[in-house]
Assembly symmetry: C2
């Protein structure tokens, strides 16, 4: 790197510092010190030709990608694009103000943020997902391939992720490190800003770069160390070597930095995390900075023509596929099997995934080592290149899914519904990234029996319904499971499919459709008592067949159960449900879930918000800590089986 460019980058670094301090003081909050430590690392990445991005078309496939995993350093990210001339200083100064695209932590409102970050430790998994996705897009598989033209060696688009050293304490980061090394995802580059200081005190490792190096190497990463993370020449040389060598492994740059760098009273000081300068302090520091060149511009490298052409070709193909699919989407998939014997909804899910995968080449399926329980293994055998085993690491699985969704893939992932709780934070964040991912949770409820409570998903409906924009689907038989899986593929946002371990009777014919929102009504003439007391039983999943059994149990009594299959608990089909409740104000809700946050809660709040009046309301749910046992024993123990429903109906 020549002196001239070095001098230019130094000036840019100064301007970045100025913007960081000014914008955070103006906002009255933010994390200037955590931004200051990364200034040289990012200025060199962005403005010395390493990071290749078409500013007008940042989501095109030919671009490199950048993820700010340490999301609290957002002032730096925003300042970089201001220095690049994309935003004005005035715009930047709306930082953290209501309505601004410059939010406290990056979100996709900012056009150059791929995803929302700010919950630490997720960025590397997302980057891993994107790096995998880039390989999938270009090659149709994710095995190690560093260059897409061997004759003219231009590296594949890279995904750069900037991490703070503090967040390396999050286990999820090691899940991503572990998997990235295992699959040799060589277009993933982590840059770790090792500033020694966390929010409250020194990290476990401090400035001991060689300790980090040992760790990364043990997980098969290629390590590059920067002894002085503020020395532009050293950083330049390291980046240059990294890209030139392009080793067939994921890469990490470990850079020793100083938190608060550039301002004497902030440098390497505890107690300054997440604190901004006062107006007076700001004036003082601007003096310290010396002459700032406000006119200087940083230039982000445009990707090479060869890369743009190749990327566009892939993009076109993708667009074609998507267009075709949209036509196909009008005729919904149905499973080929005409089997009338009971089938588990999880099995129908797995079969449906294969059917969908045949025509929809954008479907990618992720597994955390339960594929043979959730029947994703059917997809894995048929489409091994679009199946990604992430091993037992649910957090990593969800964030990789977010990364893949950024590239337009339709992501399905699954685990036991109980273990999805492990990834609540990642699911919560996915909604802020506008990610479209479909999550299947099998083995829901006590009806799994033998394995005991640790394996039973009894809080999953509460978890997924709390996500503001989620859709929840809960099939009761194989037909509805296949149809709802196919519907899920067309739905935006976070879609949760709740699946049952046990085989359940086939209730619907192959022709039945399952609109969303929607529900199904199963009434049955009680010819003995045509004017019998009508009771509405709202059930779903495993409790639907129990409710239908109860309906039959009561044939001899003066009671007529109108059974509802609430296959879409969220959003509710408000019109249909309202009419039903008005017609049948005696209600039993029965679900295989703990009492709070499930179907009982959703229906209760609906009734009150709609100002409906109800004569009776009985909520049957799991009110005791379950144990091991037979599925039927447990349904009986929790009083959510057909006998409990019958008793409740008789009590009304």
């Amino acid at each position: 790197m020549d002196k001239e460019n070095q001098e230019k980058l130094k000036k840019i670094a100064k301007l970045l510092r100025y913007y960081i301090l000014l914008s955070t003081t103006e906002a009255g909050s933010g994390h200037p010190t955590s931004s200051l430590s990364s200034v040289e690392l990012l200025a060199t990445l962005f403005f010395a030709g390493f990071f290749r991005q078409d500013l007008k078309n940042p989501k095109a496939l030919y671009n490199d990608r950048f993820i700010l995993s340490k999301g609290h350093a957002s002032p730096l990210l925003y300042s970089l694009y201001t220095v690049a001339g994309v935003f004005t200083k005035e715009a930047l100064l709306t930082l953290r103000k209501f309505g601004s695209i410059f939010e406290g932590h990056p979100s996709p409102k900012f056009p150059y943020a791929e995803v929302a970050t700010g919950s630490l430790g997720q960025g590397l998994s997302i980057g891993l997902g994107m790096a995998l996705g880039i390989k999938l897009r270009f090659f149709g598989h994710y095995r190690p391939v560093s260059h897409f033209f061997s004759t003219q060696p231009e590296p594949l688009p890279f995904v750069f992720v900037l991490l703070g050293d503090s967040e390396l304490a999050e286990g999820q980061v090691w899940e991503a490190i572990s998997l990235g090394g295992h699959y040799q995802i060589d277009n993933l580059v982590a840059i770790v800003d090792v500033s020694r200081l966390g929010q409250t005190a020194e990290t476990m490792v401090g400035w001991n770069l060689s300790n980090y190096q040992k760790k990364f190497e043990a997980f098969n990463w290629q390590v590059y160390s920067v002894r002085d993370g503020h020395d532009i020449e050293e950083i330049y040389n390291v980046y240059h070597r990294l890209i030139k060598e392009n080793q067939p492994w994921p890469k990490v740059v470990l850079a020793k930095t100083i938190k608060g760098k550039g301002i004497s009273f902030l440098e390497d000081k505890e107690g300054w995390h997440g604190k901004v300068l006062t107006e007076t302090q700001l004036k003082e520091t601007i003096k310290q900075l010396g002459d700032v060149d406000f006119k200087i511009k940083g230039v982000i490298q445009q990707p090479k023509k060869i890369l743009i052409e190749a990327g566009n070709k892939v993009d076109e193909k993708t667009v074609l596929v998507i267009k075709k699919l949209q036509k196909l989407a009008s005729t919904s998939q149905s499973p080929s099997s005409k089997e009338k014997n009971p089938v588990a909804t999880r099995e129908a899910f797995g079969q449906s995934l294969v059917d969908l995968g045949l025509t929809d080449k954008d479907i990618v399926v992720l597994d955390a080592e339960t594929a043979n329980s959730t029947y994703e293994d059917l997809f894995a055998r048929r489409f091994p290149n679009r199946f990604i085993e992430v091993f037992i690491a649910e957090q990593n699985m969800v964030s990789i899914g977010v990364g893949l969704a950024c590239l337009g893939f339709k992501v399905f992932l699954s685990s036991f519904s109980a273990f999805l709780t492990r990834a609540f934070d990642q699911i919560r964040m996915a909604q802020y990234s506008n990610a479209h991912i479909k999550i299947a949770g099998s083995h829901a409820g006590v009806s799994i029996g033998y394995d005991g409570p640790s394996q039973m998903g009894l809080e999953d409906l509460a978890m997924f319904s709390s996500i503001l924009t989620s859709t929840i689907l809960y099939p009761a038989d194989k037909v509805s499971s296949a149809k709802l899986t196919s519907m899920a593929n067309k739905l935006p946002g976070i879609v949760y499919l709740r699946l049952t371990r046990e085989k359940t009777p086939v209730i619907y014919s192959e022709e039945e459709e399952f609109p969303i929102p929607g529900l199904k009504i199963h009434s049955r003439e009680n010819s003995n008592f045509p004017n019998g007391k009508k009771i509405l039983v709202i059930a779903a999943g495993i409790t639907l067949s129990e409710a239908l059994k109860a309906q039959r149990n009561l044939i001899g009594k003066n009671i007529n159960l109108v059974v509802v299959d609430l296959y879409c608990p969220k959003p509710l089909d408000r019109n249909l449900l309202k009419n039903l409740i008005k017609t049948y104000p005696k209600i039993i809700v029965v679900e295989d879930h703990y009492p709070e946050g499930g179907i009982g809660s959703l229906v209760s709040k609906f009734i009150l918000e709609e100002n409906l009046s109800v004569d009776h309301f009985i909520h049957l749910a799991c009110r005791k800590i379950p144990t091991s046992g037979l599925p039927q024993e447990l349904l009986a123990y929790e009083e959510i089986d057909h006998q409990a429903i019958t008793r409740a109906a008789l009590a009304i």
Copy 2:
């Protein structure tokens, strides 16, 4: 180890295999192959004098502890205690049956299980918590001390944790490895059963012990390798060396094993995870096993007298402390400050912790690097030995808390409420371990403002209320926050304290008491309109002061708001609430949380279950994805501020 003992252990191993196969076939489900791989590792640990346990008094402080992190190998654990003569074969054969203490995955119903396991990757963190706790009990701190008597060097009680190799893919395991190495918790011993095969296929690392070794060593663990995890002599020698050396680091035994070991058609075969033998297959394998000595007994080593005496002394002290505390508990703590200016509930929480810590020596406080935001740093400064920094690793924090709770510590832990979602699986499992832990989540709701949605806890009430046995407390001012913190300290199970970032006005006098369950009624004579329309406003936390403002706003109107401070959303004070709703059937619920699973849901379901009739029900909650902004702007944007409440009241 002499030949005789070796032969005896071999016979025991055979009997264990017999029990494992018989009990799982009898149960019709379970994980025999994952149990078979660990037979020699545990037979040698338990019956060759390494594991020291008083069978009659397994919870006494002088015992070693054992945690089966790979909980699906429960048949082996149960068989060990059957071979030790504690249970009969007939009892063992109730495995997985309804009402049995031998559940599919271990739970504290089994008297020799410390905690519930079965969600993989949590055991090492729990073990780390227990190992830390043992140090705290014996020495009052957790700095490296391997022996409690230097003159007669008897090692401190060890905590042994058996892990499967598959679960090493879980990030939480690396959180525990990382922290254990950092604090040199040298009485923690991990034993990894490296059988190569996960549930669906080979793990990332396979049988590559040296790769695991590199990783553990990078995290400062002392590594011991066993090349043949079925060779009793080799295992014996390794355990012997490990305990004799007792290096000042946590230890790991990496043992190469064979899944399904001992039965030819099961050994190292895919497709046998979680599958049991048929009756016919069982007969065949029993033949393969050859002569089984049904009379052989394993003897678990009694701890040495010197250890028992020391342990009892500490136990006595503990018991004394607890008794004293129970007396003290009747006079509840109150904060000393008489400050009338607004104080954030999180700050009052932190101050209250210090007050409690002065008299209650069993309180231990955990932090994941937000102590200066949740005000736990006040406790850290006052009681550094009872404060444990776990760095940014919320999953590890919760499971360490469970481990400490096993030793009778009263555990408080905190983070931003948003980031607690990261540990939902661990919290869910904690209830099955009967753990008493108090979890504080600060920065709840959109009212944090500037930092944006990634930092806002908007699903936390849904998460904690879904836990069957949880208590939820949500203070609105500094007085209630201090009092509720003190109440939390006396409550069993999982207690969640929801805290607010912003300063809130002081509402209560220092004398006010806050029983659980309970609520406070704030009515205000509207002298202009003594017969004005009465509307019940149910609020909590930050929305309480908004509701009180709305009450004042409406002074000039013919409306009288009866404001309820629902400081204990779960369990609800059913009597008080019932009477209130009967008296005031026009209701507004207002909360800083997404619409589903929070206070609106809890109150709705209550109303319906109690069959109360309501004229109006308006639920004000966060119905839009929030952004950065001023706290008041965001409360207004989400329509949960005093103006929104006023509008809703006028609309009724």
